[in-house]
């Protein structure tokens, strides 16, 4: 049995990292996620499990520490918020190209630029559509509770090592800062050198005499090989898309109209569903848990079952709506609603937007 605690989202993420046997955390402070590195520093996980915690000189340095330590077969993570995640994009592109497993969290704040320290979901594009250079993807998990902040760390590592790629935990200032009950898993042991060598033959651990030395690189100047490398990456991403789509549906069985929302917006939209149902409206909620791969087929199945319209509810000026529109492909109406600048929409105004923009009078 796990342990029940009252914690902030950011703290739950940090505690889960220690408990799932992570080997290292490299990070740089930024609001609203500084609690992650503060909590880790305070907990002294080096004493608890041997986990390394290092405050790097920048997000650039932190992600490059993650890149190389991940290349050396270790379970390594970092976290940041929006402007810091911009700086991580260089390392993330290398991580994708060199196929290195790692987990990173983006506790999103408003932008562009320094923006605001208030919650936002305007890093959807940054994290689901790339950000760094080249044709690559990161798996993006969107927690909607403190519990999921904790749960998605071990899940993230499992996926990262299964596919040798980066997994993003895309949260926001609200989920990161709020306190909720969370059930924490029991402490897992960190992998030993022998286990790492046996499980991850690709990892840089010092080459055994008489065997081929290992190289982790994203570079290949041979065009034919580089094309094949890119094709192989795409085949891997297809595999992820086939196997790893996650979502939750609430009150969608008989729904005519559906809110699509993730993270904190999903919690608000869930309340809007209750308000709408009380008025006799057949509304439901689709909550994507993976933002990449996106639950495109779930939207299409809802249209097949008769859903006439979708409202994409986001704390942004409209980013995820593009994926909803792609899924609808003209077969159902879809629009965006969302407050920005640190203002969080109310369940009432979300329901109002559904009525005005999608249902019509």
């Amino acid at each position: 049995m796990g342990e029940l605690k009252l914690m902030k989202g950011n703290e739950a993420l940090a505690e889960a990292a220690i408990r799932c046997g992570a080997d290292a955390y490299f990070g740089y402070p930024i609001t609203p996620q500084s609690e992650v590195i503060e909590y880790l520093s305070e907990q002294n996980p080096y004493e608890r499990t041997g986990m390394v915690v290092l405050q790097a000189e920048s997000e650039l340095a932190a992600i490059n520490m993650v890149y190389a330590a991940g290349a050396a077969g270790k379970h390594v993570m970092t976290s940041s918020s929006s402007p810091g995640v911009c700086l991580k994009q260089e390392g993330l592109a290398y991580i994708a190209g060199a196929e290195v497993p790692c987990v990173f969290a983006d506790v999103v704040r408003g932008g562009p630029g320094l923006g605001t320290i208030q919650p936002s979901q305007a890093d959807y594009f940054q994290n689901t559509k790339g950000g760094g250079n080249g044709d690559y993807r990161n798996i993006v998990l969107a927690p909607a509770s403190v519990q999921e902040m904790a749960d998605f760390v071990p899940l993230g590592f499992d996926l990262a090592f299964k596919y040798r790629m980066a997994v993003c935990i895309l949260s926001d200032g609200a989920i990161g800062q709020m306190m909720e009950k969370v059930v924490l898993p029991e402490q897992k042991a960190r992998l030993t050198e022998e286990e790492i060598k046996a499980k991850y033959p690709w990892a840089l651990t010092g080459r055994k005499r008489g065997t081929q030395h290992r190289v982790i690189t994203s570079l290949d100047l041979d065009s034919a090989r580089m094309e094949e490398h890119n094709r192989a990456l795409q085949r891997k991403y297809d595999e992820v898309t086939k196997n790893e789509v996650r979502y939750e549906m609430i009150d969608c069985d008989d729904a005519d109209y559906v809110f699509v929302a993730y993270g904190s917006s999903a919690r608000i939209a869930q309340k809007s569903v209750q308000l709408g149902r009380a008025e006799g409206l057949k509304v439901g909620l689709l909550r994507p848990i993976t933002l990449w791969p996106y639950p495109t087929k779930a939207i299409q199945s809802l249209i097949d079952k008769g859903v006439k319209g979708f409202l994409s509810v986001e704390l942004s000026c409209g980013q995820m709506i593009e994926d909803v529109l792609l899924a609808c492909n003209g077969r159902a109406k879809a629009e965006h609603f969302g407050r920005v600048g640190g203002i969080i929409h109310t369940p009432e105004e979300v329901l109002e937007a559904m009525k005005k923009q999608i249902i019509g009078e």
């Binding site: 080997d23 290292a24 490299f26 390394v52 290092l54 790097a56 000189e57 920048s58 650039l60 340095a61 932190a62 490059n64 520490m65 993650v66 890149y67 190389a68 330590a69 290349a71 050396a72 270790k74 390594v76 260089e90 390392g91 290398y94 060199a98 840089l204 651990t205 010092g206 080459r207 055994k208 005499r209 030395h213 290992r214 190289v215 982790i216 690189t217 994203s218 570079l219």
Partner: protein
């Protein structure tokens, strides 16, 4: 008397030189006469002599040495431009018993990666950093580097590097004395400047590199930093021989050879 055959000569007791076993069969892509190849050879020899090839992890830079990983028969990760010290930090922190080294050029270490360089040295990571200073961006075709000498012509200083305009307003800035700067930091254990333009210089450089690795193996902290003042005959647009002469006449007065720091103590000149 029987005639002496070639087979009689090729005998172990007659062996005076051989390629390090830690260099692969892959032909170097370096220009003939370039210092990178010599520095590779010394590092490989040192790792072989120390017998640590089965626990060494190298970090290659972005620059002419980007594919150093193809030439060394040890595990390697290729870093983003300037981030090799951060990569080396990441590896060493999670594998403190491995032998970790970074290999960088002057653009990589002293321009785009200055922040990572300084902070890695300041934290006193227990690693070995090799810095090949050829005063130019070799890989991208000879643009100005932070270490380019005053007056030196490069693709981006075609009239010579001019730190300031005649009226005193800033222009290209001054040659960056990065190694001196790093020697000032409490985290550096051993800081030395060497070269590979002559057999004597190569012998000294090898001694220094060996010490830089030995220190790492024997201790728990302190960056061991070896600068090699090197050439880029291709982009300096000189023959290999002329480049080595030019290096001695022009580079060494600005970047004099010798130890700057040993066992955390600055060496007074």
């Amino acid at each position: 008397m029987a005639e002496i055959t070639l087979q009689d000569i090729i005998q172990p007791e007659n062996l005076v030189y051989e390629k390090s076993k830690l260099l692969t069969e892959k032909p170097f892509h370096y220009c003939p006469g370039c210092g990178h190849g010599t520095v590779h050879r010394i590092i490989a020899e040192v790792l072989e002599e120390l017998g640590v090839d089965d626990r060494t992890i190298g970090v290659s830079p972005v620059g002419c040495a980007v594919m150093a990983y193809d030439y060394f028969d040890v595990d390697f990760v290729e870093a983003a431009h300037g981030r090799a010290p951060a990569c080396a930090t990441g590896i060493k922190r999670v594998w403190p018993d491995k032998v970790v080294f970074s290999y960088q050029g002057d653009g990589d270490l002293a321009a785009i990666g200055t922040c990572e360089t300084i902070h890695t040295c300041n934290r006193g990571e227990n690693i070995t950093m090799i810095f090949v200073n050829n005063g130019i961006y070799g890989m991208t075709g000879g643009q100005m580097a932070p270490t380019t000498l005053v007056g030196m012509k490069t693709a981006t200083t075609p009239y010579g590097r001019m730190p300031q305009w005649p009226d005193g307003t800033p222009n290209n800035g001054f040659p960056l004395q990065i190694t001196q700067l790093l020697a000032q930091l409490p985290g550096t254990r051993y800081v030395t400047r060497q070269a590979v333009f002559s057999p004597a210089a190569v012998r000294n450089a090898k001694k220094a590199i060996k010490k830089a690795f030995q220190n790492q193996i024997e201790n728990k902290n302190g960056v061991n930093f070896v600068e090699i003042v090197s050439n880029c005959n291709s982009n300096w647009k000189m023959s290999a021989v002329d480049a080595n002469k030019w290096l001695q006449d022009n580079m060494l007065p600005v970047y004099p050879l010798g130890d700057l720091k040993d066992n955390f103590e600055l060496i007074k000149k």
